[in-house]
Every structure is written in structure tokens, then in C-alpha cells.
Amino acid sequence: MNNRIIILFLAIISATGVQAQHLEHRIQAGFNIGATAPVGLPNTIRKINSYRPEFCPSLGYELSWRPAKASEWGAAVGVKLDYKGMTTKDEVMYFHTMITMEDGSGKSEFEGAFTGKNKTTVRNAYVSFPISATYTPNDNWRLHLGGYMAWLFSANFYGNVSDGYIRNGGSLGEKVNVSEAEFDFGTDMRRFDAGLQGGAERRVGKKLRVMGNLSWGLRPVFPSDFRGMDFPMYNIFVTLGVTYRI
């Protein structure tokens, strides 16, 4: 995987030699703030007690092209290292879950409905490849809109449930009180994510700009056969940072 990324990166760099006059190179740095979350909270989530972004740097390189130096429209491709994460504490009711774990000696599964408190920490590292159409109306502003593909290379999705009860099998199952139990769904996560992204940059120096960029995953982060949560979750993050033209 890493080799492929390096090769792609080199290919982008070497492409710059072809039509250097219309190309711009930028380094991007910032932080991702957002959530891996359902789009529209299911009614089993009763209360969000806290939300905290994790330390999620974003660092990338962007190559943009315009037909002529003064053109308003252009295109850009990039490669980014993106950490996406958060910690939330919430309260849930009748929350359906199925926990499947495997080790050398076999598989164990538990399915049930949980009512109580939940804490979830997500911290995933992706290599992302954004592709955008760019619009540069003037020297101060630059806007872009497009899509991205991303490969997950380090996954963390874990937490605990506490102060509640779980019902074996579902809502009609026998009630089992829970003081605290851990879960870890990191290895269940999909390795590939894709979605839409767009944002704007505002010039603040000769080569320096501040930027904000929203990326909205369209692919649930867990595969369809994953039953730890019975609703799809998506990566929805904003990158706030700077770009520097090189």
C-alpha cells in the first residue's frame, strides 16, 4: 500500500515537468474536526453528553492546473495524510448491537439491546486522494469542489458501555446489568472510504492562505454485514488550516 502511494506521489510530481507554466504546487496543513456519525441520529440515541475532537492533523500536497495563468476555472489533485477522530459520550436506549470477536481458538458472538451510557473514541488514519474542480474568482479567494477516495491504514474505533443493562438477543431477552464493558470495532472497519469534498481558501500572505474544507463520506465506515450498530455511520469532517504555494 505505502509503495503504491509513493509511486502515485512521484507520478504527480513528475507530471509537473510537462506544463510547468500552468501548474501550482501547494502544501496543506491543518486539523480535522468532525465526527464519524450517522446522518440523522437514530432515535435510540437519547442524549449526547459530550463531544471532543481528537488530535487529528491533516497534511498534504496539492497539484493544481489551470488552462492559463489568469483562468478562473481549473482542476486539482492531491494526496493527504488525514487523521479523522473524535470522542463522544452519549446515552442510548434499546440500542441494538452484535459483538463478534475472534481469536485463534474460535469466534464468539453476542447480540443484544443495550440501554445505558456509551463512550466511543474514533481515531483513524487515512491516505486521501482528493480531486477537485477549482474556481479562482480573484487573487484573494479560491474555491474548490470535488470528491475524494481514501484508504484507511490505521483504525481505532473503541469504547465502553456502562451504567445500564443489555438484553440477551434483543428487547425481549433477559436483562443483564452492566457496570462497564469494553468494545473494539477497529478491525471491522472498511479500508476504503470515498465521498464529496469542497472548500475555500482566503489569501493572507504572498503564498499563504487559510483554508476550510468539508469532506463528507458517502460510504458507511463499516461494511453492510457489520452489526455492532444497526445504522450506517459516515466520516464527516472539516479541515481547518493553511496552504502554502511552493
Binding site: 437519547r46 463478534t100 474460535g106 440477551n168 482566503r202 493572507v204 487559510v210 468539508l214
Partner: protein, 358 residues
């Protein structure tokens, strides 16, 4: 001025993007309650010989009734999950005329129904051959019933079912075996390795257990030692505890953390405890309670290749005397320290023809 503009634009960008996320984050209205439990079932104490037990795993109300109450019927006061409805209603009289008394609970959401069958438990003969076994519908573990269908024995199986073991009888530590001393079946108790899930809560092995009493699954995670509710109402004077067993300790004894302790051999436990009162003792106090009047325990839990008979007189504790209300517990385990999650995986105990001689 110039700087302000930039801070404002950053704010603007951030605000736009975050609004898009937070717009989605609205809490919806609470789902209607889908649960339909009978949470309590109260009959006046004077009518009972033992505390009522609601077996949530098997959806049974176990009643231990005074003979007079059995003849006249009872009018239990019932509480359910909030918003659920129960039929027959709380306070209605039920009679024990041979037909099953079945309570139907309908959840507040209306979609879910749960039926509980009332079972009046009484032990005629304190003598068991372990011939009749049933398989739990959902979790597929075996449990033993009386000739008349009554449920007086229990085990840790309902708790083990929560840990994601394979859903088949031999996935559980207690099951029937045809390796019997008399009749077709005997009870086989095997100490099994914990699962990946049970490891998360620090349980590395499950000892096989079989006991007179009930398993309270609601305590299985929080206070597992209180989940095993030992004992059934007993009248008369117990003199001896008899039965047959065979035992093979597993190869490697391990401590709670799963470390193998070289040179330690597992042993089994088989004992009977007679105590006063109506409320069951559990694994936290079955050896220590002040209510204990007499005990009979297998002195040596080491390996026995063939069925071996035991006949142990009850030892009455001086200064403690029987009262009108008594309970008798019989407990067997394939690993004596199984309640501390210590033992040897593979230890196998078979018991048959257990009896309390009066």
C-alpha cells in the same frame, strides 16, 4: 483590520462547515418502550415456602407455595416494564387446577409480547436420576427438569450463554451424558475455556456447575457470585447426602489470570447445605452464613475413574437449630475454585442418583 478580516473568514468557513454537521445532530423523540418484562410478582409471605423467582431466561414464574395456598389460589401483585400491560391483571386470582397459568405482557410499543408460565415448584422425592433434559430455545443449552416437568435444578449455563459460546449443548459446561450410573442419563459438568468476550471481563474459564436453585441472569456480569441462588424449600430432618460420581481433573490447573500453575491438580466439589429461612443463599455466603444449620460435603474431590458412591452424614452445627422454614442446597462443580475462575480446562465431573436421606 486586515488580520481581523482573516480571523473572520476563518470563523465563517468553520461556522459554515460545522453547521452542516450539527444540523444533523438533532435528538429524535424517544422510541416507545419495546420491553415486556414481569419485574416483580408478589404473593404474601405467609403463603410461601421460598421466595418467588422470576426466571427471565426461561420466562417462568417459579412459586414455592404453602399447601393451603396451593389449594385456595393466590392473587399476585405484578409490576411490569414501564407502560407494558399484563393479562391476567395484577391482583387477579389464579388457581392451580391443572391448567397452566400464563401471563401475557404487551410492551408499551405494542409490538412485543412475552409470555410467562407460572410453575408451582414442589419437591416430592429428594432423589434425582437426571433423566429428563430440555434444550433452551434460543441459546441451546441443556437443563434438567423433574419427572413432572418442574424446574428445581439450575446451573451457570444461562450466564455462559451471554459470552458467545457456540449455541449447542456441548458448547456449555453442564449437559446430559449417557455415561450414567443408572437410567439413561447423568449430569456431566465440564470446565470449559472462556471465550474472547468473557476474557474482556476477566473470565478465563467456566467451571461446570449444577445446583438446586435458580440462576439470576441479571447479576451474571455485575455480581456473578450472587447469580447462583442456591436452595429449595425443605421440610423434615436431613440425615445423609448420597450419590454417585466420577471425576477426571483437567491436565493443567490455571489461576484467575490464566497462568498455568505446575504441580496443582484440580478437584471437584459436591456438597449439601441445610439452612434456615426463605431467601436463598448464593456463592458469596453458602459456606459462611449464620443461617447454616448442617452440611454434608464430599471430603475428597480428587479423580475417580469409575462411578464411586458417596454417603455422607449431615454434620449439624452445635448451637444452631432448625426452624419452620428451611432450605436445602445441593451444589456440584467440576472445579472446586470455579467460583474464583480457577481450575483446569477439561476437568469432567459426572454425577448421578443424588439423594437427601431423611
Amino acid at each position: 483590520m486586515y488580520i481581523m478580516t482573516h480571523i473572520q473568514s476563518i470563523r465563517l468557513l468553520a461556522a459554515c462547515a460545522l453547521t452542516a454537521i450539527t444540523m444533523q445532530a438533532c435528538i429524535k423523540s424517544e422510541p416507545p418502550n419495546p420491553e415486556a418484562d414481569i419485574e416483580s410478582f408478589t404473593v404474601p409471605d405467609s403463603l410461601l415456602t421460598g421466595d418467588v423467582f422470576i426466571d427471565q431466561s426461561n420466562r417462568k414464574i417459579l412459586l414455592y407455595l404453602d399447601p393451603e395456598a396451593f389449594d385456595k389460589g393466590v392473587a399476585p401483585v405484578i409490576t411490569t416494564t414501564k407502560g407494558a400491560k399484563v393479562s391476567p391483571a395484577s391482583g387477579d386470582s389464579i388457581f392451580f387446577t391443572g391448567q397452566d397459568n400464563v401471563y401475557t405482557v404487551t410492551s408499551a410499543s405494542g409490538e412485543n409480547r412475552k409470555q410467562y408460565t407460572v410453575e408451582v415448584v414442589s419437591i416430592g422425592e429428594w432423589d434425582w436420576q437426571f433423566e429428563k433434559w430440555l434444550i433452551h430455545d434460543k441459546d441451546k443449552y441443556q437443563y434438567v427438569i423433574e419427572e413432572d416437568g418442574g424446574q428445581v435444578w439450575s446451573s451457570g449455563n444461562p450466564g455462559v450463554a451471554l459470552s458467545g459460546v457456540p449455541k449447542r449443548p456441548d458448547g456449555y459446561p453442564l449437559r446430559a451424558t449417557e455415561d450414567s450410573e443408572s437410567g439413561t442419563y447423568a449430569a456431566e459438568l465440564v470446565t470449559l475455556k472462556g471465550t474472547v468476550l468473557s476474557n474482556l471481563v476477566g473470565i478465563k474459564l467456566f467451571a461446570g456447575s449444577l445446583f438446586l436453585g435458580n440462576f439470576d441472569v441479571s447479576n451474571a456480569f455485575l455480581e456473578p457470585l450472587k447469580a447462583t441462588q442456591f436452595g429449595q424449600p425443605f421440610t423434615g430432618k436431613a440425615t445423609r447426602f448420597t450419590g454417585y460420581y466420577k471425576y477426571t481433573p483437567g491436565a493443567s490447573y490455571q489461576d484467575r489470570e490464566g497462568n498455568i500453575l505446575p504441580g496443582v491438580t484440580d478437584s471437584c466439589a459436591i456438597y449439601a447445605v441445610l439452612y434456615t429461612g426463605r431467601t436463598r443463599l448464593d456463592a458469596t455466603n453458602i459456606h459462611t452464613s449464620e443461617r447454616i444449620v448442617a452440611t454434608a460435603r464430599l471430603p475428597d474431590g480428587s479423580g475417580r475413574g469409575n462411578f464411586t458412591r458417596f454417603d455422607i452424614p449431615f454434620t449439624y452445627i452445635p448451637g444452631r437449630s432448625a426452624t419452620k422454614e428451611m432450605m436445602m442446597a445441593i451444589v456440584a462443580s467440576s472445579s472446586k475454585d470455579g467460583d474464583q475462575y480457577r481450575g483446569a480446562i477439561g476437568s469432567r465431573l459426572v454425577v448421578d442418583s443424588l439423594a437427601i436421606i431423611q
